[in-house]
Every structure is written in structure tokens, then in C-alpha cells.
Symmetry: C2
Subunit: 348 residues, 2 copies
């Protein structure tokens, strides 16, 4: 359990210190008081990256130091034992320490984890197929380190197959020739299949695992019901004409179905609720595989939900599983049960 | 003023009839009761397109008819005179009528207009540069029909310049030759400049016009401070190597600045508020140019705003300008002044 959070030069916080003594923490206050920023800091120190900034923009810019920096520190308490994690960052370097001792990246981040759920995440998952693929890939990578290597291998081979297709494409347009059985293309196709089939299989398996009885996650292969090998053969001419690989895991997608296609026909509330349910299923899987529930960060989630759906998201059996940080403008919009058991932190 | 709305087979509504008698209309109710759907219908019949569906998915699918269809009908009342607009749509055809008489597209949509403001719009404007360019282009097109032609011309020329660059690119990779002064490339560059400079100029002008004292809209040219002609000359080698045009209006962007870059450093509330302010400025410009204020559709806008900012969005001097439709889960979250003057429609 996180028992203390300290931020220095982190976005709007020059110095912030919060003592935490409950498993449910409600950060409440007006717009722009820094609610989401605190969740961003927790996400950074537990997962190594910000849920929304790609660069170092969270380092406060109004510092007088020659080298602007920020520092996040969290203290955890588990069975009476305290541990302090600190994350120091400048534009060019990052120093990670546990109990004041420099710690390698892998060890630092393998001890803690968090899952964030916020309105941006829902919009992005609804808009972008590549973000949907990334969503699955990130979970599988956390559960199975081997998958990181498979993905790397896949991206490398895809790049090389595409480069070779571009060459063939040029030949085709210059001379009108398509080699029906080009040995080098066959080689890259075989290499491609090795990792591609594994990725599709693993993503498909996870899709089934995170689905619930009412909420199906339908993994949609770009090759449809046809074996990927055959689909690649069928798309050969097209691949050569366009100069890239038209089928494979880099073109797959998934959909959420609860009787209907939620992306197409769901209201904003239904979208939010369904993605929430997926994320809670992911928490359960994480617990099974990692041995602990990641910290849950619920950022402004209640805002577009009615009472019934708010109660659905903030169910005790979900919240009681892990430490949960909730941001909200007015805590009175949370179910009373939640407020009763929570530590309320007013940021106004 | 819209005085009646009738929907048939439109998404979840088999048959819906609403009588409207106020300038502020608050549609309230739980998630998924169809609040946003009503705004979507108004947007479709006034602007010709849905703010979120690209296809005909708003046509209700559970019909027994051989040809599924939907119908939207609104009646407006202006100085005692009533007019009925009807929009009938199947997968293959659209019939537009005013007072039961078939009406050409241009005439139909030039009489009415609406502006929608919803959480998706904010997210998309924050995520995608192409959507940000589109935002400006749509406004300019509404104000100045000539701009539609300039854009068309620009897209055509860009396509042709890129096609020619691809040819040169091939030559370069095959034979290592870059023609320093290729006459055909020069021709396309000149054609490109004709519309490109005009587009940048018009977008820049609009950016200044929709900005307020506190909220700047900074138009960012991909050619920076350099004249576009010179920037194209400088990027010639790169254009040939990559096979496409690297600078021009299709690569420009804009940012919102209120002392800081809102996309980078703003909280979700600040983002929402700033885009709202832009949209209200656009309303004013529309009034000046079109002679009337477009109907304002505020879809779930209050949900992530605190009291102060909610009051900021729902100011009487903004709401009183045009007919405004507001969706919200609980109308008690609106300022009392607004509720007092509004027609409340309970969709539960």
C-alpha cells in the first residue's frame, strides 16, 4: 500500500506531500488543481511512463536551476515493512532508487504496477485501431516477457518484408514484371509468419480471457477466417503493387460487443462502462499472474455516468481488491459507501 | 426557432415527437436514453452530416421493412411563420423536403445550421493535427464558398505533385540522379503555391479572428517564418527522396495558448473550457456572416467542469444568443439561472 507521496517540480507542484492511510483515496477539487497530475506521477513511478505525455513535459518549466528536474517519491508499507521508491528525472537522465540505493530499471518497475482508466483512454480506444492493438500488446507484455521479444522480432521482419516489397514494386512499375515465386519474398514471408501467427494467437487468447459473459471482445484478424499463410499468398500481387504487407497482426483490430457493437451504437456512458469492465478484468488477470493487484487509478470516471452506472463502476468488490486512487470534482457524486471508507483529500 | 422535432427509426427511437417552446432546451436523463441521439438528428438535418457517424449507422437496424429508412423532421417558427424540414434517408438515397416539397441540397442546408460541442470533439482536437486543420477549413468553407473550390484545387495539385515526386524518387534511387531544375516539378510547385498560400493566409486570418484577448490561436506553418516558395525550394531534395511534399498547408497545425500551451499543460477541464470559448467565438462570426446564430448543441459539456467553469460555459450572454440544446444527466448540475429559463425534457 502506498503510504506517502512526495512530488518536487512535477508540473504545477513545486512541493507536495501527501500522507495516505486508506486503500481508497479520493482526490477532489476544482478543475486544474492537479488531481490528474497526482495520478500521472503514480503511473510514472510504477510503470515508467506517463499515461498521456510522450515527452518530459511534466518536468516543471519555471525552475531557476540550470538543469530543470523533477522528483517523485512514494513510500509503500507492506506487512509493517516500509520501502521508498524515488524517481528523479532531468531532460537527459533518469535515476531510480529503492531505499536510497540506485536500482536497475527492470527490478524497479517489476515491484509495482498501476492501471489507469480515464476519459482520454476511452476516446482513444474508440478512435484508433493502433491504440486498440497496443492495449492488448501492453497487457500481454506485462504478463509474458517473451512477448516483448516476439513483437520486436515481428516489427523488424515486417520492416524488411516491406522494404523488399518496395523493391519489387519498383520493378513492377518500371518493367511490368511480377515474379510469381520470388525466393527472397518467400523467405521474408516465412520469417513474417513465425512471429505473426504467434502474436495473433496470443492476442486472441487474451481477448477471450478479458471478456465477460455479457461483454465480448471480438478479435478481428485482417486475414479473416483464412489461414494467414494463404491470405499472404492471396494478397501477394496487392502487396507488390502497394509496396507493403496488407495483412497480418499490424492490421488486426478488436471490437466490444454486448449484444451490439459498442463503438458504433453505444452511448458515451456505455462506452465508458464497457472499457471500465475490461480494465477490471485485466486487474484480475494481473493478480493471478503477478501475485498482486496493480494500483487502480480512476481519473474523472464518474463524470459522464448516471447514478446506476456510477455504482456499477465503484462497486465494493472491485474497489476492495487493490489500493485505488479516485479523482473527482465533488466527492458527493460518489456512492456513499465509497466515501465512508475513503480518505478524502481536498486539493482546492 | 425549432418548435418541433420528430424522429422515425432513428437509432433507438422508433417514433419520438418533441414540442419545443423555449430557446434553451435541456434534455436530461440517464446514460443511453438517447440524449446525444437527438442532438445528432438536429446536426444531421441542419448540417447534412452526423458529428460522429461516417456511415448510415443511425438508421435503426431492427426494422422489418425491405428497405430500412429513417426520417427526421423539424418544424421552425420565425415571426409566426412555420416551416417544416424533412430528411428521409435509406442506404442508397436521401430525400430533402421543405414544407413537403423536394428541395435541392444547397438550398436545404443554407437555411439552417448548428454547431456541436461535445467531449469527443475536444479529445479529437487535442489528438489529431488533421482534425485541427479540418476544424478551421470547415468554418472557412461555411463563410466563403470559394474556399471549398480552393481546397479542392489544392488537393488535386498536391496529389499530382506527389505523384511526380514519386517518379523522381524512383529515378533517384535507381540511377542516383537528382534533376536540380526539373521543369515539370517547377510547374507543379508553382501550381501548388497558387492555392497553398491562399489557404495558409485564410486559415491564419481565421485563427486571429476566433482568438480572444486571453486565448490565442497560434497558427503554425510547416514552413515556419520562411516564405512557402523558399521552403519548397529548400525541401526539394527531401521531397524527392521521400516521394512527397513535406511542407505546405497539409502539414500545418495550430495551438491554443492562454499563457501556456493548453494541449501540453492544460488539465482536461481547461481544454474543455478553451475549446468551448473558441466555439462561442465561431458562433459570433457566423452570425456576422450568415445573418443568424447557428443552433448550439452542448452535449454533456458540464460533466468534467467544476461550478465556476460550468457557470463560465453556461453564461446568459452566450446562451441567449441562439437556440441552445443542452444534454446532461442531472439538470441540477446546471446553474439555476439556466434551469429557470429552460424547457426541461426528461428522457428517462
Amino acid at each position: 500500500m502506498v503510504s506517502k507521496i512526495k512530488l518536487t517540480n512535477f508540473r504545477k507542484f513545486k512541493n507536495l506531500e501527501l500522507d495516505i492511510d486508506k486503500d481508497i483515496v479520493v482526490l477532489h477539487g476544482d478543475n486544474a488543481v492537479g488531481k490528474s497530475t497526482i495520478l500521472e506521477a503514480i503511473s510514472l513511478i510504477t510503470n515508467g511512463k506517463s499515461p498521456w505525455a510522450n515527452t518530459d513535459e511534466y518536468i516543471s518549466t519555471d525552475q531557476e536551476e540550470e538543469t530543470p528536474f523533477c522528483r517523485i517519491e512514494i513510500t509503500t508499507k507492506e506487512d509493517g515493512e516500509e520501502k521508498t521508491y524515488s524517481y528523479y528525472k532531468t531532460n537527459s537522465r533518469r535515476i531510480l532508487k529503492i531505499n536510497d540505493k540506485n536500482t536497475p530499471i527492470k527490478k524497479f518497475f517489476e515491484e509495482t504496477a498501476s492501471t489507469i482508466f480515464n476519459p482520454e483512454k476511452i476516446e482513444i480506444l474508440m478512435i484508433s485501431p493502433s491504440k486498440r492493438r497496443e492495449f492488448l500488446d501492453e497487457i500481454i507484455s506485462t504478463l509474458d516477457y517473451e512477448y516483448v521479444e516476439i513483437l520486436k522480432q515481428f516489427r523488424k521482419v515486417l520492416k524488411q518484408r516491406n522494404a523488399y516489397l518496395k523493391k519489387l514494386s519498383k520493378q513492377f512499375y518500371d518493367k511490368g514484371i511480377i515474379a510469381r515465386n520470388d525466393p527472397q519474398l518467400n523467405f521474408w514471408t516465412n520469417e513474417f509468419l513465425k512471429s505473426a501467427e504467434k502474436i495473433q494467437e496470443m492476442r486472441e487468447r487474451l481477448s477471450k480471457r478479458i471478456a465477460t459473459k455479457k461483454l465480448k471482445v471480438e478479435y478481428i484478424k485482417s486475414n479473416g477466417d483464412i489461414a494467414l499463410e494463404d491470405a499472404l499468398e492471396n494478397s501477394k500481387k496487392r502487396d507488390i503493387a502497394t509496396g507493403y504487407t496488407n495483412v497480418g497482426p499490424h492490421r488486426d483490430d478488436w471490437e466490444l460487443i454486448n449484444g451490439m457493437n459498442i463503438k458504433k451504437y453505444g452511448s458515451r456512458g456505455e462506452k465508458r462502462l464497457s472499457i471500465g469492465k475490461l480494465i477490471f478484468e485485466v486487474q484480475k488477470i494481473m493478480k493471478k499472474e503477478l501475485g498482486y493487484y496493480p494500483i487502480l487509478l480512476l481519473d474523472d470516471i464518474a463524470s459522464e455516468l448516471d447514478k446506476k452506472n456510477t455504482a456499477e463502476i465503484f462497486k465494493p468488490e472491485i474497489l476492495n481488491k487493490q489500493q485505488t486512487f479516485i479523482t473527482i470534482i465533488d466527492y458527493k457524486n460518489l456512492p456513499k459507501e465509497v466515501v465512508k471508507n475513503a480518505q478524502l483529500i481536498d486539493l482546492n
